[in-house]
């Protein structure tokens, strides 16, 4: 291996670090910002690693646990909300433990940028009593994941590894570490007391875990990635994760700093060493005030005369991301409170550059030619003037909530649309309740909801938006695609067959790009009771890009702009007074042609 540095994205760095640590099992479910980790494992797999997109995070966690029981080094990946799905096995697994090293990567998303919540995996570490590793850069993540594997194996416990979006999606020049020498997994050794969870053993394990964590706190005080940068001031900073990087950008000379890479178990002795000579400490972290709480406890327990500031005291903001700018401002206010009180006022008075022109907001939209747009439009048209509620779900199709479609009335979490629709209908039975769900989400967590509806006789119209991929996270295969993450051919699981098996009798299947047929199917499905399903099948345009293209015939177009107002396709633009189609964006899906009342839109050959 050459020592040449390569540019690697944080997620790929994590994957390469795991491969070098001898990972033999890698399972996960796609979710921004974690997705590329597993894809990179698949890309660099020499054939010895079992890599899979599991059907959801719970399945991934359990497949992983099995492999780790058998002694293999195991990586499980997901985004933070995925950890909620996997929390059932996680909580029990924390008691049982593992034999092969098992690292669970749960990527947090401060902001949030692409998530439903700003939850904090570090807090999950406290809740589950598991160790948490928190890298602050791609290069650190690459090395740290190997250390996490060794740590996990040494203490026979799964460990959490928590990068955030700005670590996952940043690239850095990295020199790859040497591969570790790992022995072959031993295989599963039967031992009921160890692998079968019982109340009695859980009680004993609980005692053992509390003892171990106290010990680990001491061990981790010596871990090289928890460290102090000495200074001569009486005011210090404590930070971890990406906030450490921001802090280092702006840290004034002489300011002592404590970096925390294992927020749980907290390296208490190290913290005491840091706190004991200081008067005041500012904690810079994202999401929960996790480090801040730990420091407060330690200061209380050890009677240290130090003031600790952070989110809990209002010294830093308690939601959203940090940045170099926010950290700089926080530190300035902390170090020179009096001066900054004045300059804050001045800043408020200073005139902003007021000639800045109004900039358009650019909310994300469904791609030009996205079949979801056609599906939503068909349902909208079919239900015009009728009382209907549209429950959405997680995926590109959440974007169907944007105007002009405005077709997503609820969205909560993976699979929830199917069940929320049932609850809504029970209270308001005169509405027709639609549940939109994508193909990948259907497999991940939609099926249970359909079983629930059939069993309880609940009335819903289930609309499966089947575009043959997991589009939002970058087009991963899933059980309905007939392909695995390694590109191998797999059994293709049929959604209509599942629905029939559950007992759904009325199933309409059609192509949403055929507007008339689609509208008729929805009209029929809206009638009657029980579970009725419409399956709209058309591939994601970002995967199978068509060569077709449409054009507005300027002589026929009456500039009524119905196409724009009804569809909101980003390829249809106004130029002065006239309506045009941007040929570089258009996919010729033809929906706008069906919508135009004057037949002014037609297909042309424009991708010569």
């Amino acid at each position: 291996m050459s020592s040449k540095k390569i540019l690697v994205m944080g997620n790929e760095a994590i994957a390469l670090g795991a491969i070098r640590a001898g990972v033999r099992m890698a399972a996960g479910y796609p979710g921004t910002p974690s997705t590329e980790i597993l894809e990179a494992i698949a890309k660099h797999n020499d054939g010895r690693i079992h890599v899979e997109w599991s059907v959801n995070e719970k399945a991934a966690m359990e497949v992983g646990a099995g492999a780790a029981y058998a002694g293999a080094r195991t990586l499980v990946t997901m985004k933070q909300v995925g950890l909620n799905v996997a929390s059932d096995p996680l909580m029990s697994l924390a008691y049982i433990g593992v034999k092969g090293g098992m690292v669970i990567v749960s990527a947090d998303d401060p902001g949030p940028i692409s998530s439903q919540t700003e939850q904090d995996t570090r807090t999950f570490g406290v809740f589950s009593k598991l160790p948490v590793f928190d890298p602050s850069s791609p290069e650190e993540a690459c090395e740290m994941i190997g250390e996490a594997f060794e740590f996990s194996e040494k203490y026979q416990t799964p460990v959490l590894f928590r990068p955030t979006t700005r670590v996952c999606h940043a690239c850095a020049s990295i020199e790859l570490p040497e591969a570790m020498q790992i022995s072959e997994p031993e295989g599963f050794v039967k031992d009921t007391m160890r692998w079968v969870i019982f109340p009695r053993t859980s009680y004993l394990n609980h005692i053992r875990i509390e003892k171990r964590n106290a010990k680990l706190s001491e061990t981790l005080s010596e871990y090289k990635r928890n460290f102090i940068l000495e200074g001569d001031k009486k005011k210090g900073i404590v930070t971890g994760g990406i906030s450490y990087a921001y802090t280092r950008e702006v840290l004034p000379e002489g300011t002592p700093l404590l970096k925390i890479s294992t927020p749980h178990p907290f390296p208490e002795e190290l913290a005491v060493r840091f706190l004991k000579d200081l008067d005041e400490v500012l904690v810079l972290e994202e999401l929960d005030p996790m480090i801040e709480r730990q420091l407060l406890q330690i200061a209380g327990r050890r009677h240290l005369p130090v003031n600790i500031y952070g989110k809990l005291t209002g010294h830093t903001k308690n939601a959203g991301e940090n940045s170099t700018e926010s950290v700089r401002a926080d530190i300035e206010r902390f170090l020179n409170p009096a001066e900054n009180a004045v300059s804050d006022e001045l800043a408020a008075d200073a005139p902003a550059s007021d000639d800045i022109p109004e900039l358009p907001v650019r909310p994300p939209v469904l791609c030009a030619g996205c079949p979801h747009r056609a599906s939503f439009y068909a349902v909208k048209k079919a239900m015009k003037g009728k009382k209907a509620v549209f429950s959405g779900d997680i995926g590109c199709y959440t974007l169907g909530n944007a105007k002009p479609l405005d077709m997503v009335d609820t969205c909560l979490c993976m699979g929830a649309g199917v069940t929320i629709a049932q609850g809504l209908h029970a209270i308001e039975p005169d509405a027709v309740n639609f549940a939109f769900i994508g193909d990948s989400t259907f497999f991940a967590s939609g099926i249970t909801g359909v079983v629930n509806a059939v069993y309880n006789g609940n009335d819903i119209v289930l609309v499966v938006l089947d575009n043959s991929t997991t589009a939002m996270t970058g087009h991963q295969p899933h059980p309905g695609t007939g392909k695995t993450i390694m590109g191998d051919v797999a059994a293709k699981i049929s959604i209509p067959a599942i629905l029939r098996g559950i007992g759904v009798e009325r199933i309409y299947e059609c192509d949403p790009l055929n507007l008339n047929e689609a509208v008729n199917a929805v009209r029929e499905a809206a009638q009657g009771s029980g579970v009725r399903a419409v399956i709209f099948r058309s591939p994601c345009i970002a995967v199978s890009r068509s060569e077709k293209c449409c054009e507005v015939k300027q002589e026929t177009c009456r500039k009524c702009k119905v196409c724009i107002r009804e569809l909101g396709c980003p390829a249809i633009v106004t130029e002065g007074d006239s309506v045009k189609i941007d040929a570089t964006l258009c996919c010729g899906c033809g929906i706008c042609a069906s919508v135009c009342p004057f037949d002014a839109i037609g297909e042309v050959n424009c991708h010569e």
């Binding site: 540095k5 390569i6 540019l7 994205m9 921004t32 910002p33 940028i113 692409s114 850069s137 700005r166 999606h169 940043a170 690239c171 850095a172 020049s173 990406i242 450490y244 990087a245 921001y246 280092r248 950008e249 940045s323 170099t324 700018e325 700089r328 550059s353 000639d355 800045i356 022109p357 109004e358 900039l359 358009p360 907001v361 650019r362 909310p363 994300p364 939209v365 469904l366 791609c367 590109c396 974007l399 944007a402 105007k403 002009p404 939002m472 996270t473 970058g474 724009i564 107002r565 909101g568 396709c569 980003p570 249809i572 633009v573 106004t574 570089t584």
Partner: protein, 195 residues
């Protein structure tokens, strides 16, 4: 050499690839590089920004406000949005075109290219406006704006990367069958950058 570069545009314009190419070229010269990219929902037509940082003792993957040596803008309005990142005497290289979001087509506001470029002329210390339309037409593809902008940036010298080094990065990183096309685009960009 420490350089900060911000690349901005609209999802789908090839911003990420351009930022990787700059980092690649810098690393070939032996420099440490960091980038930060917009991935996820915003790629569906939202505003996207890539940060590239080259040099020593850089910690944050994002360029701090007020410290970009160069802003490469794939869309004039996005250049305006990112202007606070430009450092004093920094250079803006921007396509003079705008991309209208659906919200603008639906009737809100008059979003005009002239207004955007006018603002840039007034507020950017150094500005190169590129005629992306003409370049793409001449190159024969609408997908080469990113490489053309890299050509302009390399020509300006503001990144510390020469046109030859940029060309090498392009050759080594784009698919074989697109190399000729991208070479042409790079050359057109260099001309726009004052060659």
């Amino acid at each position: 050499m420490n350089k900060n570069c911000l690349l901005c545009g609209v999802g789908g314009q090839g911003v990420v690839l351009a930022s990787r190419l700059i980092a690649y070229a810098a690393m070939e010269k032996g420099y440490f590089a960091r980038t930060a990219e917009t991935i996820g929902m915003a790629q569906r037509g939202g505003s996207v920004v890539s940060h590239v940082r080259i040099g020593e003792r850089i910690y944050s993957p994002q360029v701090p406000v007020g410290s970009a040596d160069v802003i490469l803008a794939f869309e004039a309005g996005e250049a305006v949005r990112c202007l606070p990142w430009l450092k004093k005497d920094g250079l803006v290289i921007a396509d003079r075109r705008i991309v209208k979001p659906v919200t603008a087509s639906l009737g809100g506001g008059n979003y005009s290219a002239e207004e955007m470029t006018g603002y840039l002329k007034k507020h950017a210390d150094r500005l190169i406006l590129v005629d992306g339309d003409a370049i793409c037409r001449e190159a024969g593809s609408s997908k080469v704006l990113n490489v053309a902008l890299l050509g302009a940036a390399a020509q300006s010298g503001a990144l510390g990367i020469t046109p030859e080094e940029m060309l090498d990065a392009v050759r080594k990183n784009v698919k074989e069958k697109y190399i000729a096309l991208n070479e042409k685009a790079l050359m057109l960009g260099r001309k726009a950058g004052g060659m």
